[in-house]
Every structure is written in structure tokens, then in C-alpha cells.
């Protein structure tokens, strides 16, 4: 028998600059502020990865985080790891995320501490994603 997996929410891929992407509206919540952004779900990325410029806006001292070197397709990136809350489709998740030292053009939802808390599915053929706020 095939496994059956339930999801409580469905989302459409978003049209970004060069095509449709499984991007989700996320509220990034820090100790002193919050803002909305539109990262792409990347199940190959270890960390959720956000532009470091956002750190100060939500009340974080960027370089006070844990220093990490991240390896990307384009080479190595320096990042700082912080604990934040991410609100996704109405549910808040406490996560460790990476903020970039330099400007980045895309932001990602990666695996570390986030994907273990949720269930995500894709039907690429109809540009639709599925989400459930528990594992």
C-alpha cells in the first residue's frame, strides 16, 4: 500500500522574475521587530538563509550570532546564525536561521530546524505546494 500523507494547506507557486517558484510568504520575527518576505523553499539548502540587512531591523546584532561558512554553488558565503521565529501560513515556528554577511539576491527556506517541524509536499506539474504545520 502506498503511504498517504495529509496536508492542511495548499499554496500556489509564485511568479518571480524568471519563472514560477515554490515561494512562501514568511514573517520574520525578531526580538524588536518583524517583516514579511518571500523566500523560496529549497529542500537542498541546510539553513533558512536571509539577507543580513534584515537582522538589525528585527532587533538582532548580526555579528553577535554564531559565525558559519556556508558552501553554495557559487562558492563560499559567510553567515551568522540566529534564533528567530518564522510565521508561515498562520503558524509560528522557532528556528535557527542564517543571515548573510553580504547582500544576497534570493532568500531561502532550508532544512535546519524548520523542515523538521513541518510537512511540505510539491506537485510541480501543477505548480502547487502543500503544507502542514506539524511533522
Amino acid at each position: 500500500m502506498s503511504p498517504l500523507v495529509d496536508f492542511s494547506q495548499e499554496f500556489q507557486y509564485r511568479e518571480l522574475e524568471n519563472g514560477l517558484f515554490p515561494a512562501l510568504l514568511v514573517t520574520l520575527i525578531g526580538p524588536k521587530g518583524e517583516e514579511d518576505l518571500l523566500p523560496i523553499i529549497d529542500t537542498g539548502a541546510t539553513y533558512c538563509f536571509f539577507n543580513g540587512k534584515r537582522a538589525a531591523s528585527i532587533g538582532l546584532d548580526l555579528t553577535a550570532g554564531r559565525h558559519e561558512h556556508l558552501v553554495s554553488l557559487a562558492g563560499q558565503l559567510t553567515a551568522w546564525i540566529h534564533e528567530v521565529d518564522l510565521e508561515i501560513l498562520g503558524t509560528r515556528f522557532h528556528c535557527e536561521v542564517a543571515f548573510s554577511e553580504h547582500n544576497i539576491t534570493r532568500e531561502l527556506l532550508g532544512r535546519h530546524t524548520l523542515l523538521a517541524q513541518v510537512r511540505i509536499g510539491f506537485r510541480e506539474g501543477i505548480s502547487t505546494g502543500y503544507f502542514h504545520p506539524t511533522p
Binding site: 496536508f7 492542511s8 494547506q9 495548499e10 499554496f11 500556489q12 509564485r14 511568479e15 518571480l16 522574475e17 524568471n18 519563472g19 514560477l20 517558484f21 512562501l24 510568504l25 514573517t27 521587530g33 518583524e34 517583516e35 514579511d36 518576505l37 518571500l38 523560496i40 529549497d42 537542498g44 539548502a45 538563509f49 539577507n51 540587512k53 534584515r54 531591523s57 553554495s72 554553488l73 557559487a74 558565503l77 501560513l89 498562520g90 547582500n103 544576497i104 539576491t105 534570493r106 532568500e107 531561502l108 506537485r123 510541480e124 506539474g125 501543477i126 505548480s127 502547487t128
Partner: protein, 330 residues
Amino acid sequence: MATAPVGIAPVLTPYTLGALADTCEQDHLPEQALFLRRLLPFVEDIVQKCFVPLLSQPREGSFFGRFDKLSKDFEPFRLYLNTRLFNIFVTKEDVLSFYEQVLLDLLNPLMRTAREMDMGPELISAIVRDYIKIVRALFQAAGGTTIQNDELTVEQLTKLVDWFHAATRFDYALTSVFLVLEKLIPAPAANDKSALLSACKQALFDFGQAMSRMVAHESLSRALSDLETPHIKIKVERNGIQPGATPPVGQARPELGLDPSHRQMEMSWLARHKDLADFYGGQWIVLEKDELVANDTDYEKARHIATQKGIKRPFIIFVPFKENGAFMGI
């Protein structure tokens, strides 16, 4: 009485026929595969007779006039095709799931073409999903392709005929869309794209309503109240159409809900501005409802403008410069 040949819309094009035949072969159904391949010349002739004139030059009358006439011309051929199709599959268990999977698998490459042609892939995929949802509800309500009543009153027969006409119009509309994407009929001009998708959207609603008049069942009512298509509006922009997602405010969440984001207006704005990189490449933009409230290459400046306007939680995103290559991660 068997209603499937009359009441559903299998969207038979040379491409869907080929895909159905391939899937039959993979499922060890060689007779069905051969039958489908033999249907191909007939279907190709129907395309020439009933579909090519919808969009080719020279044209007669308005788009909707041609649509009405040609969908009526299509009706007997459709009935013949559907009857033959369902006769050959009558012994196959769960034929709906089989067909549904083939249709959804076909969508992937077609949606890529729809994007290239500015044909509103979001709307087309929503229409297909809604169509499947309606037909699945019908199967649930009627327990299969048969309505358990062979003795019809005049009133019931009238409703059945209405359903037949509505199914034909929807089948004609969706088949036309598929044929455009398969490039087997001429690519429509911007206004015709919009008209074709509007006709398809309307035909889907009429199909669902006509079916619900014939088969009153809770599952069907629920399916009809849970359609995605009504919330996607069609806007004509430049050479293409831009469907904007506009879910109704305050609608109760269905069990499997659409994105309940409070940023739907911002998402619609983004969907409408596909040329964002041309104007704001390399900049941070802040959107609030249907308005671009700030843009600057400097994140802090863009955010400051937004917060000065009283926005406590700005929706702020970076617009990359135009890229030719595919995104492969950071």
C-alpha cells in the same frame, strides 16, 4: 443510465490521446492503447473542422459567436468520441483516477508553454483542478458513471440535455486551450487569449451548475463552493493575460485551504508586474496592499520610507537584476 459519455469532458487532443495511449501501454492495456492510437486521425480531423476556425484568419463574426457555433458543431463528434472512449474503458477500475493522473501529468509541460505564451498558467491549472474536483464529486454522488434512474421524466431529460450542452461547451473550451498550448491551432492575439480563457472559465461554472441541477448531492455542492477558478480574475496586459489571484475576503477556510496569506493584494501586484526587474532590478521594494510604497537600492532607506508611513511590518523584498539562466540556489 450511463452519463459519463454525455456529462464529462475528457479533452481529447492528439497530445492527450498519445499520452493516454502511452499510459495504457505502461499499464499493460494494449487493446486500449491500440484503440486510442486508431482514434488519432479522427481527432486530427475534428481539430481541423471544429477548432482551427476558432482562431485562424480570416474570421467570421465575434469570438463568442464563433465559439458558440463551433462548440455546437463539435457536439455530435464529441458524443461519438466519448461513447467509444468510455466503452473501451468500461472494465477498467477507477478510470477516473487513471484519467486524472494522465491529465495532471500533461499539465507540467503545457504550463511551461502557457507561461511562454502569456496564457495564464495559474488560471488554466486551476480550471483543470476544479474540473477534476467537480467530476470526482459527481462520481462520489452517483457512485460511478451511472445515474441510478433509467426512467427519466421530461424535466429530468431536459436537465440532462442542458448538462450535455454545458459539458460540450466546457470540453470545447478546455480542448481549445490545450490545442493552443500544443500549438495545433493558431496562437491567439491578446484579446482572444482573454476571451478564450473567459469562455473556459464561464463554461466550467455552467458545467458545474448544470451537473448540480441533475445530481443534487452534498459532495457536489461542496465541490462547487470550493472552486479556485472564480477567485482568479483575468486582466489583459500588453500581449498577454495576467490572471490575478483574488480570494474572497472573509471566506471560511476549506479543509484543504488555499494560502490564507494576508498579503494577497501584494501577491497580485507581484503577479501583475512580471517586468519588475526592468524597472526595479537591484532595488529593495516595499509593497503595501496594492501599492508600491518604497523602492531603493539601499535596504535601510526603503524600509525607513515604509515605517515613516506607519507600516510596522513591511513586506520588503529584493528584486534581482534580470537573469537569463535558471535559478540553481544561492
